[in-house]
């Protein structure tokens, strides 16, 4: 098992803020919009350096999406930012018609996704956003795994022409990817090569998968771990190449088991390469209040749960 260590923990949303600061300096067309959550989205540095390119929308997410679509007419690259719940479910029709169907170069950047938002509870913990966004034709869906990768992804999506959903979160987690990485949209990242089981993880679950890989290694199981940071378009080639070798799959995501990464992988497997698959995901329920650690434990989203799922998958081979 390849060793991953860390010296610092940070939140992925701060990676987004750092990426935005760099974009503010490098790309004069980048415009940031926010719906009364500037501090939560870590936009202070961008706003300080580019006040004329920041648009405070107030608590009006639908209007923010429409404004963003309009800004692209004139060549701007709008980054519309708020919590993941308000960036997707609340404004689905606005995204569908004014952004996706109209093929506008809007970047929807969503923080506080999933259970790890914590104490605010289920009203704010969206677990359906990846599913909703990936179902929109033409929408690219990205869920990076740590601070460095979120920063790199933020910079990369400005270069890409087309609508993007970028999902990140609130809690501090280990920084284990390279500071100077180049982010390739749609290209899965091989975390660890193995032969016994393929673990496909996204977002916060990638670090859990690495810890699971170490636990499995101690029991003589050699896990292949792949970071699927781009849910759509899915790197089908990487998925199939891995499963051809290992013959079984675990998918791990901080999302409802219906409609997320696991289903995207299952769709590839059922068409090209039947293999047993186990889901590590929220079992079609809403979340609740609690600390991020408590919630990930209660809803079955830890390294321990990935280990159990891996053993079940291997047993079904």
């Amino acid at each position: 098992m390849k060793k991953y260590t860390f010296t610092e923990k940070k939140d992925t949303r701060s990676g987004f803020g750092a990426g935005m600061q760099i974009l503010g300096q490098q790309n004069p067309n980048v415009v940031a919009l926010c719906a009364d959550l500037v501090g939560s989205l870590k936009l202070e540095a961008f706003i300080k350096e580019n006040p004329e390119r920041f648009i405070q929308c107030g608590i009006s997410e639908a209007n923010m999406i429409g404004l963003s679509a309009g800004l692209t007419i004139g060549g701007k690259i709008p980054f519309a930012t708020t919590f993941a719940n308000f960036a997707t479910g609340r404004v689905y029709d606005q995204i569908r018609q004014s952004v996706a169907y109209s093929n506008k170069n809007v970047k929807i950047c969503a923080s506080h996704a999933g259970l790890t938002l914590g104490e605010d509870g289920a009203t704010h913990q969206i677990l359906e956003d990846l599913g909703m966004m990936k179902m929109l034709p033409g929408m690219t869906v990205i869920n990076p795994c740590d601070y460095n990768q979120t920063k790199a992804a933020t910079i990369a999506i400005a270069e890409y022409e087309g609508p993007v959903y970028l999902r990140f979160g609130r809690p501090v987690i280990p920084i284990f990817t390279d500071a100077d990485q180049k982010f390739e949209i749609g290209k899965a990242w091989m975390v660890n090569e193995g032969t016994d089981v393929s673990i496909f993880a996204t977002g916060h679950m990638v670090w859990e998968a690495i810890q699971a890989g170490e636990l499995l290694e101690a029991e003589g199981i050699n896990a292949e771990i792949i970071n699927i940071h781009t849910i759509k378009p899915l790197d089908e080639e990487a998925v199939l190449k891995s499963v051809e070798k290992t013959g079984c799959v675990v998918s791990a995501e901080e999302h409802n088991r219906i409609g997320g990464l696991g289903d995207s992988i299952a769709q590839v497997l059922v068409k090209h390469l039947l293999a047993p698959q186990e889901y590590v995901a929220v079992n079609d329920s809403f979340g609740e209040s609690g600390t991020p650690t408590q919630l990930m434990e209660k809803y079955g989203l830890t390294a321990k749960h990935i280990v159990e799922a891996a053993k079940r998958a291997i047993a079904r081979k």
Partner: protein, 285 residues
């Protein structure tokens, strides 16, 4: 263009509208007919449009020109007709309206790359937000073009409209002219009965907009005068709302003033009766 010429264009546009809706036996003639003067006045007289050799040149960004957005996308027939008659795309293409493989979708879309369309609309309440974004982009680009957007009066019942209405004065959007087609009708009946908007002029004023009214929205002279006045008030830190009083179905006697022709196509007899009232001035497609 002289008033008389503009009225001739309007007559042909009305013929196009009823023929298009008849041709596919679906679509929305009522609101289209009611807004014909506004569309003709804008595209044939008031909008500053990028042109080459007397023909409009379309690019998505609309750099250096005025922009128009249609928020109540269901009145697409009037827009398609005016765009075609202005020269954005071939007039015969109007015959494909709402048919399979057409660029002239039931509601306007950029998806089929139809020249003149910059955003999809149809699901109501979104156009003002889009227009405000485009107006902001123009300011960021130091582009002097003016952004125009038309909404329906029934559409004022959508919540997103009021998010945008609140935004515009706060951000001093003063390079935008918005219109409401006040025809007093919506699908289920008169607007005052379905969901009374009360006094929209007072509402917009209370939200910080400058409001002007065109009482005779189907009179070309009155529309041109109103558009001139609206433009003269730009650039003073406030958005402009033009309340355009129109008659739904105007120009075809049996379609006028009733919500019944909101989304119904004429049959062969009704088409003949309608065309008999509308002079063919530019040649039918």
């Amino acid at each position: 263009m002289e008033i008389e010429q503009l009225e001739k264009v309007a007559s042909q546009v009305r013929r196009d509208i009823v023929r298009m809706v008849h041709g596919c036996q679906s679509g929305h003639p009522g609101g289209s007919l009611g807004c014909t003067e506004l569309f003709v006045a804008l595209y044939f007289e008031r909008l500053m449009l990028n042109e080459q050799d007397g023909k409009p040149v379309f690019d998505m960004n609309g750099t250096g020109e005025d922009l128009f957005f249609l928020s109540n996308g269901h009145i697409s027939p009037v827009w398609y007709s005016v765009l075609a008659r202005k020269g954005y795309f071939p007039v015969p293409e109007l015959a494909t309206f709402r048919k399979l493989n057409s660029r002239l979708q039931g509601h306007p879309t950029t998806h089929e790359h139809l020249e003149g369309i910059r955003i999809a609309s149809g699901s109501l309440g979104q156009g003002l937000s889009v227009a405000l974004g485009a107006a902001r982009a123009k300011k960021l680009n130091d582009d002097k073009g003016i952004v125009h957007v038309l909404m329906g009066d029934g559409e004022q019942q959508e919540g997103q409209v009021w998010e945008a209405v609140t935004f515009a004065p706060h951000h001093q959007v003063d390079n935008l002219i918005a219109f409401i087609d006040l025809n007093g009708q919506q699908i289920d009946g008169p607007t005052v009965k379905v969901m009374n908007n009360l006094d929209l002029g007072k509402k917009y004023e209370a939200f910080g907009w400058e409001v002007i009214s065109i009482e005779e929205g189907n009179d070309m002279t009155a529309v041109l005068k109103g558009l001139y006045e609206a433009k003269s008030r730009l650039g003073h830190g406030r958005p402009i709302m033009v309340l355009l009083h129109t008659g739904m179905g105007f120009g075809v006697d049996f379609m006028m003033g009733s919500h019944k022709w909101h989304g119904v196509a004429p049959n062969d007899e009704q088409l003949a009766a309608a065309l008999a009232q509308l002079e063919e001035t530019m040649g039918d497609y």
